[in-house]
């Protein structure tokens, strides 16, 4: 057994999982505060990255393009809340899910309509080259992504757990009627939530875009985040991170050590097999809350 190679595979898998987590966090945030499984998160990621890179290519400095894109994403979030979600208050979850599914197509089409279909290079100034640690190679860029994901989780964790805003968010997610009765302004809470989700989409879009180029396929990374949510739990930000790490690790180990014996291509389906196993054994995921309803 080549132990240094195995350690490299494990680290690589964990870092790959962090990239999935970056997208999954956006899902969790909206689900946790509004109960909506936002299928449009991938499209928001594409829209944010395309907007940023196009503004940057037009000559705007990095940080001005970033702030401007963030403003556009917050505005988009507010509009989504006002035009799509507010009229659907208290509709069944499947109705809200279908609304976001339709929304994802509109945002995808809108992104390409406004910014074109060309593939863009995105250079964040972080070299995507390996750090040699003995014979183990670890990507500098992946380490940076892990740091960013960690910082987002820490900030969100503190805000949601220890601030009045966070308490309001959790109350809104727990029971919309009760939250309204206690005087919480649900539309404002949801608008803030969607704005923060827009910020996470922007960060995720930039990191994924720097890896793959900014192009339509960014919207497809959402598909890899769904098993992460099932494994980690739909309403847990820590779950999104742990779920991402587990999915990334499983994919990489299976592809490297089992793939050669069965023809490869395992990472196409192994994450979903893992998610299915969790649904059968622990439907709430590792960190998801079991819902209790009075019947």
């Amino acid at each position: 057994m080549d132990w240094s190679f195995l350690i490299g595979v494990v680290i690589s898998g964990l870092l790959a999982g962090v990239m999935y987590s970056l997208v999954a966090i956006g899902f969790v945030l909206i689900y946790k505060t509004s109960g909506v499984l936002n299928f449009a998160q991938g499209s928001m990621l594409l829209f944010a990255a395309l907007t940023f890179v196009s503004l940057h290519e037009e000559g705007l400095p990095f940080w001005i393009a970033f702030v401007l894109t963030l403003a556009i994403m917050v505005l988009l979030g507010v509009l989504i809340e006002k035009i799509v979600l507010r009229p659907l208050i208290n509709q069944p979850p499947i109705t809200l899910f279908m609304a976001t599914l339709g929304l994802s197509y509109i945002i995808e089409g809108g992104a390409q309509f406004v910014w074109g279909t060309q593939v863009h290079q995105l250079d964040l100034g972080i070299a995507d080259v390996p750090l040699p640690l003995n014979s183990i190679l670890i990507s500098q860029f992946d380490i940076f992504c892990a740091g960013v994901a960690g910082a987002i989780v820490a900030v969100l964790g503190v805000v949601l757990q220890y601030t009045r805003v966070g308490l309001a968010f959790r109350a809104a997610a727990f029971d919309q009627y009760a939250a309204l009765n206690t005087g919480l302004r649900l539309p404002r809470i949801w608008a803030i939530t969607w704005g923060v989700a827009g910020f996470i989409a922007l960060v995720g879009g930039l990191l994924w875009g720097a890896r793959t180029g900014v192009q339509f396929s960014l919207s497809l990374v959402v598909l890899k985040s769904l098993p992460v949510l099932v494994v980690g739990g739909f309403d847990s930000i820590i779950g999104a991170i742990v779920g991402g790490l587990l999915v990334g690790l499983t994919e990489t180990l299976m592809e490297v050590y089992v793939g050669p014996f069965i023809g490869g291509g395992i990472d196409q389906w192994i994450a979903y097999a893992l998610a299915l196993a969790f649904l059968l054994i622990k439907p709430t995921g590792l960190f998801g809350q079991r819902s209790v309803e009075r019947v």
Partner: protein, 447 residues
Amino acid sequence: MKLRGTLASLLLATAIGGLPLTSHAQTPTHQQYFPLQSYRVGPYAAGGTGFFGGFIDYMNLINTRDGGVNGVKLTWSECETQYVVEKGVECYQRLKSHVPPPSAWNPLSVGIAYAMIPDITADKVPLITIDHGRTDSTDGAVFPYVFPLLMNPYSETSAIINFIGSKSGGDEKLGSKSIVVLYHGSPYGRETIPIYQLLAKKYGFKLQQIEVPDPGTQQQSQWLQIRRIRPDYVVLRGWGVMNPVALKSAQEVGFPADHIIGNVWSNSEEDARPAGNAAKGYIALTTQATGTRYPVIQQIQNIIYKAHQGNMSDPARVGSVYYNLGVVNGILNVEAVRIAQAKFGNHSLTGDQVRWGFEHLDLSVAKVQALGAAGLFHSIDVTCNDHEGHGYITFQQWNGKEWNRISDWIAPDWAILRPIIEASANKYAAQNHITPRVCSTEEAAAN
């Protein structure tokens, strides 16, 4: 803000049912119609806009500069497929009854092309799969209506191995080499698995073929395997986002870009540029050169774009890989019509008549030069037996900004390929109860 007027009109046209984007006052008898199953949105839009933009610009040039082909105007309409097979087939069903009838189908999609073969054969309209498609459709005796023009996947494979051989100091040195083929997890990607195995057996090189599931946005595990194998070369048989991610992942594991050889669908600016420095030195195969120095491309710029009639919303993409492939595809379609007109008359032709033109498409190097395309592509000589027509390719290297040609035009190893193609075609014929044509008899009768 790059609000795309052209795209807007396209989307509108698509939304209301694929209306023709051009209209001519002439009667249908003086029009030659091309249905275009294009993809201008979706994950592969960069390729679709380039290819169909080049194709349309060339047809526009023929109409504007020459008044059409011998007075017969070229017309076309687009139908958006998003590279989705079902949508491509729906487009085919919608446009096949067009008046005047379709001249040829050019879907630029393996999946759509495969789905259409039985129907277009029944309709008697040619299906053009330039640089892609079924390898065995090269055998026109079994596939009379399918034309994998310029290069089929097996020719491509043979040329890549020949190129690696030449870089290694001769084919006899291949025996000491180790090659990994990293292929897209799709029918297109898997098409060449047997031929790589056959060539490995012939030349004695070590071969590993590794699949990357579609779309290929994460490839750490595949490149970790490559790092463990430590091959001399990696052949990249990718598509779309898989290509820049492969180049970036190669850099992450320290594999040199100049030992990665891309195939024909890994050879565009959109494949290399997003990878930034990781793509510097990357080599890829192509059937047509890039750039705008060719007279035909310059005429498009001077006649079409100066009159603001160009199809590309970003004129800077004129001369890019996909655009020039579209122009070459336009040349081949137009010349097939011209050859067919010489036999059937200068009027609107049926698909079957245009098929005859394709099967007699003989553009020598001198003829290619006369068309203003010298150096843009080599030559083509399609016959009943050979629907590919030479299979000449060249190699280019990415310098960080653009492609530069680094090889002469290379022919595939026909002695190896032809028996395999015929065996596969005959198997298809037996499975589908097709009686192969006898090409020698047909050609003798024609002469």
